[in-house]
């Protein structure tokens, strides 16, 4: 048959109408709606086989055990390892986002490696008899630290400096019935979260704090003293000065102090933290056995502190800040440098630390890119040996400070971690906890290679607990009473739990007001500045631009300062400050 045009059109139209009465077009529209449901520019998460890897977090000395959920070889999620004898499955907020550490926007990406080496060589050559080559290690007690000490020992005038000298004394929270903390953030970033939380129910926490820190707010008892008057109170409690004197300085009532003293009498054993005036009850402080090292390492430079060096005597200064630890104020360091062009080289991941002052800043790999061991934390009664084995590969151009400094000092090193592991294995002490199976077995039942494997695949060697000791805990230099500086009205309190620059941490400081943001100063709302505004922070040591956070928990006359190097450089112990509109 031959259809006329009209018939064809009719047929087409009819069928079109007919189709409208079938699900087809409607389903089609619904499905094509997807194009408006997905936008370009939204990153698609990588797919891949999912498996678990283990490591130890080396962001701080807590060295919590980490279970990493990986896609391919990318870690996408970190969590604690349940049943771990030390970290007990806990992971602090920073550890949770530890795998984002390599992505800090301000990360140091390249540095003048060649020039730095040459400059150091030159410095060594120029180094006079009364001058020193110094390695400043912000995280002592590591295997790398031993290498530094050996390297410095190999040099005739090498010195090894660390913020805290005594790494072998630890506290035993489980033994304490009362913990008296002078501004130490016991519950917030101090020690090992797992240990603290486990022991928390066992002790009564008395917090002496100038501001309502997170620890103060969770403490059983909180005494708000005047800033930097903690030591005065400690002295009074130790009976060195009268409660009346202390009352004036601290702003507490005499009765309160007396009551506190009595409380400590009955509440023993008492563990005192953050004070060099008051002593802890014997038994709450233990001396860890030293983690074994190969014999030949012993002939190395001792651990000394900065104060022991004469001023203007440091010709070459090598700073390892690859692992965040204590921070020494730059002004204190600068005093020690020789007058005529000293060589200062820092090994840093971020340009915000000593890189601001050093002649050469060399980029280093960070957790979880780099392999290194984590020294035991202050609250770990037993020595430990755990390796932060890398989860991702570092970007190119990163410098390994350990081998760099060794080479510079002409020291030839092998695989130091392995050597140390073997040394530990030789000692045949303690037990090894394996993360994968959650089993613990005596070290002596293990072959060296298995031990090494376990250490790298997620394991931890735990020594026998240390013995009680009368040794005192040292807490750096005792805080001086505040300067009386009339035009600097604010007393400074350093917030140790400041958030770092890890991108996602914006959740806890910018997208909520949970923590003090880096570069910010918290003030009482009565200070007259607007929340979130920019201001000038000024001390006798200089000034810096800061952001202002208003917090009714901060008493008037106090400035809580975030612990970023730039601000710490301005905040000497007991310093006063003023914050003015910029």
């Amino acid at each position: 048959m031959n259809a006329t045009r009209r018939q064809v059109l009719m047929f087409a139209g009819g069928s079109a109408v007919g189709v409208m009465f079938t699900p087809a077009p409607w389903r089609l529209i619904t499905d094509t709606a997807l194009w408006s449901e997905n936008w370009p520019g939204i990153p698609a998460p990588p797919r891949g086989e999912i498996h678990t890897r283990f490591t130890n977090c080396s962001i701080c000395t807590a060295g919590c055990a980490v279970r990493a959920r990986c896609v391919g070889d990318q870690p996408v999620e970190l969590a604690g390892v349940a049943g771990h004898p030390i970290s007990r499955g806990a992971l602090c907020p920073f550890g949770i986002v530890g795998h984002h550490l390599p992505y800090i926007p301000a990360r140091l990406k390249e540095g003048p490696v060649g020039q730095a080496a040459a400059a150091i060589a030159g410095g060594l050559a120029k180094c006079g008899p009364a001058e020193f080559v110094v390695t400043l290690d912000l995280q002592p007690g590591r295997t790398a630290s031993w290498t530094y000490r050996r390297a410095m020992g190999a040099l005739k005038n090498g010195r090894y400096i660390a913020p805290s000298v005594d790494a072998q004394v630890a506290v035993d929270l489980s033994k304490a019935r009362t913990v008296l903390s002078f501004g130490v953030p016991v519950l917030d970033g101090w020690g090992t979260p797992g240990i603290v939380n486990a022991a928390r129910a066992g002790f009564r926490l008395i917090q002496i704090d100038a501001v309502e820190s997170r620890t103060a707010s969770m403490a059983d008892r909180w005494f708000r003293v005047r800033p930097n008057s903690e030591e005065v109170l400690a002295a009074a409690l130790a009976g060195r000065i009268s409660p009346a004197q202390a009352a004036d300085a601290t702003g507490l009532a005499v009765a309160e102090i007396a009551a506190l003293a009595q409380e400590l009498e009955q509440g023993g054993p008492v563990l005192v933290l953050g004070s060099s005036q008051l002593e802890s009850t014997v038994g709450t402080v233990v001396a860890r056995h030293e983690t074994p090292v190969p014999g030949e390492w012993k002939k190395s430079a001792p651990v000394t502190d900065l104060a022991s060096l004469p001023d203007r005597s440091v010709r070459v200064l090598l700073i390892d800040e690859s692992m965040p630890g204590g921070y020494l104020q730059w002004s204190a360091i600068a005093r020690k440098l020789v007058a005529d062009n000293p060589v200062v080289v820092t090994f840093a991941a971020s340009p915000e630390g000593y890189a601001r002052h050093a002649n050469y800043a060399l980029p280093v790999a960070v957790y979880p890119e780099v392999s290194g061991d984590v020294p035991p934390a202050i609250d770990s009664v037993a020595s430990t040996f755990r390796i932060a084995s890398p989860l991702v590969s570092p970007p190119s151009g990163m410098v390994n400070p350990e081998s760099f400094i060794a080479t510079a000092a002409g020291l030839s090193t092998g695989d130091t971690l392995r050597e140390r592991a073997d040394a530990i294995h030789k000692s045949a002490r303690g037990a090894v906890f394996t993360y994968a199976d959650g089993q613990s077995q005596p070290l002596k039942d293990m072959k060296p290679d298995d031990f090494w494997k376990v250490l790298n695949a997620g394991g931890c060697w735990i020594d026998e607990p240390g013995a009680q000791t009368a040794a005192k805990l040292t807490f750096g230099t005792a805080a001086r009473p505040p300067e009386e500086e009339s035009d600097l009205p604010l007393a400074i309190v350093v917030a140790r739990e400041t958030a770092s620059g890890i991108p996602l941490l914006s959740k806890v400081y910018r997208e909520s007001n949970l923590r003090l943001a880096p570069g910010y100063v918290a003030l009482n709302p009565a200070c007259g500045l607007e929340d979130g505004s920019q201001a000038i922070f000024e001390t006798l040591l200089g000034k810096a631009t800061v952001g202002v956070t208003l917090d009714s928990g901060i008493p008037p006359g106090v400035a809580q300062v975030s612990a970023t190097p730039a601000l710490l450089d301005l905040c000497a112990a007991g310093a006063r400050a003023k914050v003015v509109r910029s």
């Binding site: 529209i29 619904t30 709606a33 408006s36 449901e37």
Partner: protein
Amino acid sequence: MDKQLIARGVSRCPALKFLLWIAPWVALFLFGLYAAALCLIKGLNQTNMDNRFAFGLWIFLDLTVIALGAGAFFTGFLLYILKLDELSSVINSAVVIGLVCYSGAIAVLMVDVGQPLRAWFTFWYPNVHSMLTEVTFCLSCYLTVLAIEYVPIVLRNRKLRQIPSLLVFEFELHKLIYVLAGVGTFLSFFHQGSLGGLYGVLRGRPFAFREGLGLWPSTFFLFILSAAAVGPSFILLTTWMVQIITRKRLVRPEVLQLLGRISGTLLSVYVLAKSVDTLVWINRTSPETGFQAWQYYSWKPFGSWILVAEIVVCGLVPALMLLMPKLRCRTGWLVTGAFLACMGVALNRFVLTVQTLALPTLSFDRFLDYTPSWQETATFLAVVAYGVLVYSFSFRYFQLFPQERELKLETPEVEESELVGRY
């Protein structure tokens, strides 16, 4: 030059003068478009809204504008369904106002949502329990109705009516206008109500939450009432303003007074209902949800004055002004009354949208402040400019006020010079 487009027997200002009048509005409109484009392209981060202040100036604008635009449906209802023929002299103007208000509101809504491309999802996966669905459906339908009602007005243009097919179509369509009026009324009753329900159903916001009468919360009915009450007032107001601006007599004073009377009557009913509702809310609804009503007013600046202003100053007072024949027959009082009535409803919409969101619900909440960003404000002004433009053109080229010509013939004493108004 555009004389051939202007209806015979009415005088409009010279084209140049007209251009001068619209130029600033066009500028404002374009600027607003730019701002809106920013919001569409860069996203709503251009606004000062945030997670807590999820709605802002725009929603306030939508609710207010739609309430004021209610004159269109209500006049249509009175004229075509209740046969109140006096109103035929303002119905065209009412339709244009309605069209402007509704199209403006919908345009702003499109900017206000985060994913305009998905606007049609509401039609595709409608959640029939959501007031917003009701609003979306009714608004879009009613806008269509208004558009159709606007067609005859356009086709009556002097030039267009010379095209036979258009002339005939207009004639036939006008015969069926009753149907449209009916549908429009039906739709309007629903969306005015559901706009009220929008906040009334929020049990999470005890400040706005109201108990239900049947299917809908009380605000549903209050909104219908208030909208119907101010609709005529707004027409009265606009007509009066056009008369002032153009220095012409466009409708007989009796018509304005009639509008006033209608407005006044409904307004008084509304005020009564609103007061009862408020009392119930203060004494039962709010306390039952654990919120003492007085607390809401302890957050400055939203003191209890706002309640007084809404119900008494901008409710009861204008209602009385419009109801008393003595006052009503004086233009000053009439217009003031209408103005206050409109203010009252605007205030009501403001309280329900902005104040609701500003008030904290959790004990550790903050009382929030919010100032619209320039992008928001510009978009807002663009809608105003758009309204003025559409109305200006309609007034110049279409017959918005059928009585104009005869009124002109009735006033021989008016001087030629005066007659040359702005349009």
